[in-house]
Amino acid sequence: MKRTLVAATFFLVLLGLWQLATMSGRWSPVILPPPAMVAEYLWDALRDGSLTEAIEVTLRRLLIGYAIGVAIGLPLGLLTSTSDYFEDTIGALALGLQTLPSVCWVPLALLWFGQTESAMLFVVVMGTVWSVVLATDTGARTIPPIYARAARTMGSEGFDKWTRVILPASLPFVVSGMKQGWAFAWRSLMAAEIFVTILTGFGLGHLLQYGRELSAMDQVIGVMVVIVVIGLIADKALFSPWERFLHRRWGTGLK
């Protein structure tokens, strides 16, 4: 309760500073609109449905792309952790491609897929998959070898060992890898939406880009706020329960 109060006060003070800055008259409202104006834009955009539709389109792309990325990245990461050959090949590839900013995939995606949903998904998947591979690989490699030895003596080999020992043992790393993958997916999608206009759906990135084209600063800031809030909610809803679960089991991070 006290923590909520502190957090609420903090954000109210931020809003207050913003309001004061606009009232000082140093910046024109075209450059820095007051909070009320942004709120008004958000309210209107919610009522006319343009914002809700954009959120829906963006989240659908994000979730599908992210799911594909994790589905590819998780097994690949486990695979690279098993042998030095996979590490030297797939692992090195993953390491290289992870350093490539995902917006760099946009030109290639456009040439391959044209202005389609597939191009969007491709960019998101490429943004997600490599960081998931690397995090899973690190996770599986840092498992104390004694777990695997204990499992072997108790008759756990092969597939059983992977699903019942290696995977749960690397869960803390897998979850942080998935979290990182989520952040990367979100960034890639926004980059893709800002750069590419496609007719099958206007996402939040497009809304942001139109705001710039129309010099509608209230829209630009409003959409940015929405993007941040969605990121926060996703983090709380998707990952916090997992992290709490892991902390309880492993006895880590307890206060």
Binding site: R149, A150, M154, A169, G251
Partner: protein, 270 residues
Amino acid sequence: MTANESEPRASPPAELVVESIDKWFRTDRTTTHAVEDISFRVAGGEFVCLVGPSGCGKSTLLDIVAGLTTPDQGRVLADGQLVQGPGRHRLVMFQESALFPWLNVFGNVMFGLHRKPELSNRQRRAIAEYHLQLVGLEKYKQAYVHELSGGMKQRVALARSLAPDPRVLLMDEPLSALDAITREQLCYDIQDIWQRRRKTIVLVTHDVREAVCFADRVFLLSPSPGRLRDEFRIPLPRPRDINSPELAHIAQRITAALKGYLTETPEAAE
């Protein structure tokens, strides 16, 4: 810790034969001769302790008996059968860190049982519950590993390795990380459980007292390369008190012998 009316059947303990084992560890830079020409025999139901300073190859030897490591020369027979890999009849009680943190206490004990297809789920639960009771942890079924004390973790590890009914139990320094009081208690409990469940036990430790407390026979190993140097029969009646003067007296004699080996191989004395 009273006997449960539904005490599960215990398999007869196996006889272990270790025949002229040699093991080298090779890395790019060095070759270490870890174990040299070690042979011994453990009768079914016997409790044997391997004692030696670090680097004497005792853990390697335990791994070889468990089937986790293959020797370069020699072989291990369990009841006449060649050991070619890990098997459920030879279970290892590792140090506490080998418990699985993603499972609770009950789940840890069930782990080995789940890998025995001949059991029904009801039998598995009954066996797990019996063994938790045996080590006195029936109230902690739902607890997670990090919530337990060091002694309790060792008890869970003991229950986990006993539950699948192995014929040989291999123990890796089960008492070394414990405080004196917990140590004394667990020492009694392990003796009690050994007499009740009658397993062949091979225990490795660097602690001579721990070895004397448990063993029918103590084998002394000297380091670099690990060699079997001597064998002491421990005639003390059971249950033994790890802090008793008689036990301390025998331990002293064995320690003196160990020191003797160390001075004759000065490069290992450091």
